[in-house]
Amino acid sequence: MSSVATTPKKGFDFKAFLANNGALVGLVVLCLAMFIATPRFLTGPNLMNIGIQVSTIAVMAFGMTFVIVAAGIDLSVGSIAAISAMTSSYWVTTAGLPDGLSIVVGLAIGGLCGWVTGAMSAYGKLPTFIASLAMLTIVRGLTLVISDGRPIATGDSVSWLGGDLGFMPVPILILIVSGLIAAFVLNRTIIGKNAFAVGGNTEAARLSGIPVKRVLVTVFVISGIFAALSGMILAGRLDSAQPTLASGYELDAIAAVVIGGASLSGGVGRISGTLIGALVLAVIRNGLNLLSVSAFWQQVVIGLVIAIAVGFDVLRRKNVRH
């Protein structure tokens, strides 16, 4: 799998489709298994639930995809989600500033945090793992400082992000729109293409005149903005910004990207794959709850399913290429 658009071929190449969508096969198998195990799985409301539940990790993982495509890693997304939710709520609830701006403030904070991580790694030459690990703790600490360790009620705008629009849950709407935007930016714009080049071979990209440092900063800013959006969705659903919001979510977000077929060594990744990866995780959690599997065994099963889902992907790819 690569960034490469495959040649439009006549007819439908099923083998190639599988090769490019191993994780999708894993997801389908998983859904089938869940469906057989419990009829409650495949009901409208439950699918709606999954859609809402997947939204936070998926949106976060969309941003993460950019960083991973550029051969980086962003461990700070959970913390950024929290600080953005916290500041946008603080803006309204505590500081009493206009609610209309709260989402913008949250997104700006997210982008700013991403910018700092990106600058640390591009100009300060820190490995992205370290730069974002540092941000993970710095930003979480700042969130605790701002909130003094207490939750803050969200303003109306942020609450709206977690609500419904007619029959349609807003988180699902955001999921779709932000996914389309992310896919567009990744595949059609210079930003995305540069990320692929930098991730594929940094030195070759640099020698081709691609501004590698700026690209690195940009992907982190994107990741920060998506993380902020994800944090505000989550806070909106809870009507409250928690200081511990989204902690540990970074591993889930990274897992979603990798399950979706991206490579941590860079140069490869797709938004659709990331969505599938996030769905795999959400479906397992949902299904295991439906099945009332004990909390202890749930963890065992989640681990197994992650391994198997990615295994499917590896297997499919092997079958087609050498």
Binding site: S2, S3, V4, A5, T6, T7, R188, T189, I190, I191, K193, N194, F196, A197, G200, N201, E203, A204, A205, R206, L207, S208, G209, I210, P211, G267, V268, H322
Partner: protein, 504 residues
């Protein structure tokens, strides 16, 4: 099929997906003989030898060793049969030392504990064979490309193999090193080692080969003696005649300097000044490690330099900023395509398009259609052999990959081309294509600064030659007055002077 053959590839076939790359090819290797594989880029030479090296397995056909059929599923098996391979692309671990690389996979040890002294001894011995004076504790990543290639050769030599495969070992070497290598090859011949030798330098074939197997499009064409005239070999190989190997059309150089470098210093480079006018091709010649690559990289903005200025059309370029250099019309074909030139998992089209992606984008959107069209055009022009333009460039043959890197800058319309060994691994036919593109660039007012270790290329394609030695420009020659000897004399000039100074 003769009975005394050490190794025989008997009617082997290989395809990648739908593409048949090797089609019923039979090749023999004899003890004490060098059997040359000749063919255009993408003819299937590397694929063929990878079957002996245990990298690819044949789809059909047999491999015989000493007359008996053998299976070579992996590299270990190949090594166990006494086969050593120098692959076309370097296979070294940059973070490890020369000694560690030479003994990679067969570290001397007892109970799992490494005998470091023995390791260094083996490495030292292997380097001595090539007359190389390198510290075996140096990390390989710190070496220049030519030195890396020599380490790779030393590694294969130290295996004491019965069959030695050399896939374009000379592509990155200067004449002196090539001569050294051939000395070793001749010694191995007397020891009865059977060798397979691949090169696009036709003059080397007569110098070292015994017989030549010609491949074309994955098919076996003929076996001919090594002293077959070059033009005959070319005809067998490409199926047509090539009129002029070096079709340089000198353009009248313009007045203003298009590229000028003043007092540039960095690392071993000391106060380099040079200038190139529109329409000129200036060659940089020198021995291995003379500093040509360092100079080209500094000018291109790839590395920082401590002092000096670089100007393009009179405008000063910022230091260490490739993007700015590119915008000013500079194009840089780096020395090592694999690590510096290509994004191996990206498509041919994308690799060709990197330098034009930003300039052709509208409102941040990549001009996908235009990028493809431009890539298609350049690929056709350079006869890049591939399935389609969306294929990952990794799956192209080495020479075709090199053409793609060159094509990137041609399609970007670079006015100042900085070429570092631009035809490394490129076949004779394709070289001519590249040379003609160079002509096109100079006739349209561009200029070229070309570092090359191939003296025929230096003499055939440049207007002036700057000879570098130990980080300095030792002298300048007009190409029409220069000879290989006059270039070499300058190339070693500083070396001698320093030796004398050392004695004082």
């Amino acid at each position: 099929m003769s009975n005394d053959a050490l190794l025989v590839l008997d009617r082997v076939c290989k395809s990648f997906g739908p593409v048949q790359v090797i089609d019923e090819v039979t090749v023999e290797v004899h003890a004490g003989k060098v059997s040359v594989l000749l063919g255009e880029n993408g003819a299937g030479k590397s694929t063929l030898i990878k079957m002996i090296a245990g990298v690819h397995s044949a789809d059909s056909g047999r491999i015989l060793m000493d007359g008996k059929e053998v299976q070579i599923p992996d590299t270990k098996a190949s090594e166990a049969l006494g086969i050593a391979t120098i692959h076309q692309e370097l296979n070294l671990v940059p973070s490890m030392t020369i000694a560690e690389n030479i003994t990679l996979g067969r570290v001397p040890r007892r109970f799992g504990i490494i005998n470091r002294r023995e390791m260094r001894r083996i490495a030292r011995e292997a380097l001595d064979q090539l007359g190389l004076n390198l510290d075996v504790n140096t990390p390989v990543g710190d070496l220049g490309l030519a030195q890396q290639q020599l380490v790779e050769i030393a590694k294969a030599l130290s295996l004491d193999a019965r069959v030695l495969i050399l896939d374009e070992p000379t592509a990155a070497l200067t004449n002196a090193e090539i001569a050294g290598l051939f000395e070793v090859v001749n010694q191995l011949k007397t020891k009865g080692v059977g060798m397979v030798f691949i090169s696009h330098h036709l003059d080397e074939i007569a110098a070292i080969g015994d017989f030549v197997n010609v491949l074309r499009d994955g098919k076996f064409i003929a076996t001919v003696p090594a002293d077959t005239p070059e033009n005959e070999l070319v005809r067998l190989m490409v199926g047509r005649d090539i009129d002029a190997q070096f079709p340089r059309q000198t353009a009248t150089p313009g007045e203003q300097h298009l590229l000028s470098v003043e007092n540039l210093s960095v690392g071993a480079l000391q106060n380099i000044s040079l200038s190139v006018r529109p329409g000129e091709v200036v060659a940089l010649a020198g021995l291995m490690g003379a500093g040509r690559t360092e100079l080209i990289r500094a000018i291109a903005g790839a590395d920082k330099y401590t002092s000096g200025t670089v100007k393009v059309a009179g405008k000063k370029l910022p230091r260490n900023d490739v993007a700015a250099a590119t915008r000013a019309g500079l194009g840089h074909v780096p020395e090592d395509r694999k690590t510096q030139g290509l994004v191996l998992d990206a498509s041919v089209a994308e690799n060709i398009g990197y330098a034009t992606m930003a300039s052709t984008a509208k409102a941040g959107l990549v001009d996908r259609k235009g990028q493809r069209e431009r890539a298609e055009k350049v690929a056709a022009r350079l006869r890049i052999r591939m399935g389609n333009i969306d294929q990952p460039i990794r799956s192209l043959s080495g020479g075709n990959q090199q053409k793609a890197v060159f094509g990137r800058w041609f399609s970007a319309g670079a006015k100042v081309l900085l070429l570092d060994e631009p035809t490394r691994g490129v076949d004779v036919g394709a070289k001519v294509e590249i040379y003609e593109l160079i002509n096109e660039i100079t006739s349209s007012g561009g200029c070229v600064l070309m570092a090359s270790s191939e003296l025929p290329e230096v003499l055939g394609m440049s207007d002036r030659v700057l000879v570098m030695s130990q980080g300095r420009i030792a002298g300048e020659l007009a190409t029409n007055e220069a000879t290989q000897d006059s270039i070499m004399a300058l190339a070693v000039s500083n070396v001698h002077r320093e030796d004398e100074m050392g004695k004082k």
